[in-house]
């Protein structure tokens, strides 16, 4: 499982945790997050995220 970071606000998306309150179950891989999904903290789009090494 990988971790992604929003380059705008620093929000971390952790594939293992998902974002259940946003309709994204734990274990959802980044490529399976919908393309129109937006950063819950700042509204950046999926293509404004980058992968963070963990």
């Amino acid at each position: 499982m990988k971790t992604w970071r929003c380059i705008i606000c620093g929000f971390i998306y952790n594939e293992a945790e998902g974002i259940p309150s946003d309709g994204i179950p734990p274990g959802t891989r980044w490529e399976d997050v919908p393309a129109d999904w937006e950063c819950p903290d700042c509204g950046a789009r999926k293509d404004d995220f980058e992968m963070v090494e963990i």
């Binding site: 929003c6 380059i7 705008i8 606000c9 620093g10 309150s21 946003d22 309709g23 819950p40 903290d41 700042c42 509204g43 950046a44 404004d48 980058e50």
Partner: protein
């Protein structure tokens, strides 16, 4: 072949670079020049107020240098360059590096921290932190500081307070407000934040203002109008922001609190637009990330030939106070209604509803923040 003049963006902050990125998604060929008084590096602005406890210094917040941004965006980045004035008739800008013509111009020069007048011999050592250079200075001075005084109990002041507490500093917060973040939060939620930060050691000096800052040994002595004094090793001012309007004003472009624009982000001058913290869009100055992103996407469309008015959906603000997580979507200013509370501090759901029961705003604290999406979905848009 003569190339037409470039699209010029003034400012390399989140507004300028987000617009450039969105524009390039739609138009890969029009020349683009970004003029900035900063070094042109791209960094995460929102992280300035939580980078300390994440162990990130100023340099680690920069994800791309000016050169890298120029390559990625196919843009000319003019760093360390001041724009003196815009000739809106000739379509050219006068800069410290010479005059440059534009086809369209976007002013995205942000906002500057408001500094209330204070007496004393150390007022010019009070730090405001609104860009990466400010942040680097802050981190340098923080190394020898243990006790930090923050003037301004608003959103930024409280975010910094939480970050400093988490990093093991002692924090005092000063301001006239009755409770923290009082311009955005309803009272019960503000008090929940206050209690949570108090429990971590934050000392509150509310209902009073700082009138003077003087040197006191290696630190400072702050005089409050309540008559008491507090001492600190470092003083931060986080009282609020004022849109940067000087350039627009000097260039004969209409300004009010911010640079006045319509929903197309057009200013009063032909082919000149304003975006982000400097802009007053349909009468609104919103110093948050979401409106800026929304505006950048609409303006990118407009600049590539498809006139697109800005529409603001409900845009809840996530406040980075991990000691007491907060999300707020304040009700519009001109509506009547009441706050209704559920739950006990720190886990409060506050709903602002009109007389007919329609939800117009909310504030969530603690565990209640999980309701953000559900409540946002039923809020009316901010601008449509």
């Amino acid at each position: 072949m003569t190339q037409s003049p470039p699209l010029i963006i003034i400012g390399s902050g989140l507004a300028g670079y987000t617009l450039a990125r969105e524009f390039r998604k739609l138009d890969e060929t029009t020349p683009l020049t970004i003029i900035t008084r900063d070094d042109g590096g791209f960094y995460s602005k929102p992280m300035l107020s939580n980078a300390l406890s994440k162990g990130k210094g100023a340099a680690q917040l920069v994800t791309s240098s000016a050169d890298e941004m120029g390559d990625k965006l196919g843009a000319t980045i003019m760093a360390h360059t001041e724009v003196n004035v815009i000739d809106t008739v000739q379509h050219s800008v006068s800069t410290s590096q010479g005059d440059i013509d534009y086809s369209s111009l976007v002013i995205a020069c942000g906002a500057v921290p408001f500094r209330p007048p204070m007496a004393g011999d150390a007022t010019d050592e009070v730090l405001s932190i609104n860009n990466l250079a400010d942040y680097a200075r802050f981190r340098e001075r923080l190394e020898s500081a243990r006790r930090i005084a923050i003037i301004g109990p608003g959103l930024i002041g409280c975010e910094f307070a939480n970050d400093l507490i988490n990093a093991g500093k002692r924090v005092a917060i000063i301001g006239p407000d009755p409770y923290p973040i009082s311009t955005l939060l309803p009272v019960a939620v503000g008090r929940a934040l206050k209690s949570a930060l108090s429990a971590q050691g934050v000392a509150w000096h509310l209902g009073t203002t700082a009138t003077a800052v003087n040197h006191n040994g290696t630190g400072y002595r702050i005089t409050l109008d309540s008559g008491s004094e507090i001492t600190a090793d470092l003083v931060i001012s986080a009282v609020g922001l004022r849109p940067s309007i000087a350039l627009a004003e000097a260039s004969g472009i209409d300004v009010n609190r911010g640079i006045v624009t319509n929903r197309l982000l057009e200013t009063s001058a032909n082919d000149v637009f304003a975006l982000g913290d400097c802009a007053e869009v349909s009468g609104m100055n919103l110093f948050f990330v979401a409106p800026l992103m929304t505006g950048a996407r609409a303006l990118a469309q407009t600049l590539s030939g498809e006139q697109t008015a800005v529409e603001y959906p409900a845009m809840p603000v996530v406040i980075k106070t991990p000691t007491c997580p907060l999300v707020v979507s304040p009700p519009p200013r001109d509506v009547t209604g009441e706050w209704h509370y559920e739950g006990d501090a720190p886990n409060i759901t506050a709903r602002f509803t009109a007389a007919d029961g329609v939800l117009l705003g909310f504030a969530l604290s603690g565990d209640a923040v999980v309701q953000k999406q559900a409540l946002t979905a039923v809020l009316p848009p901010v601008l449509r």
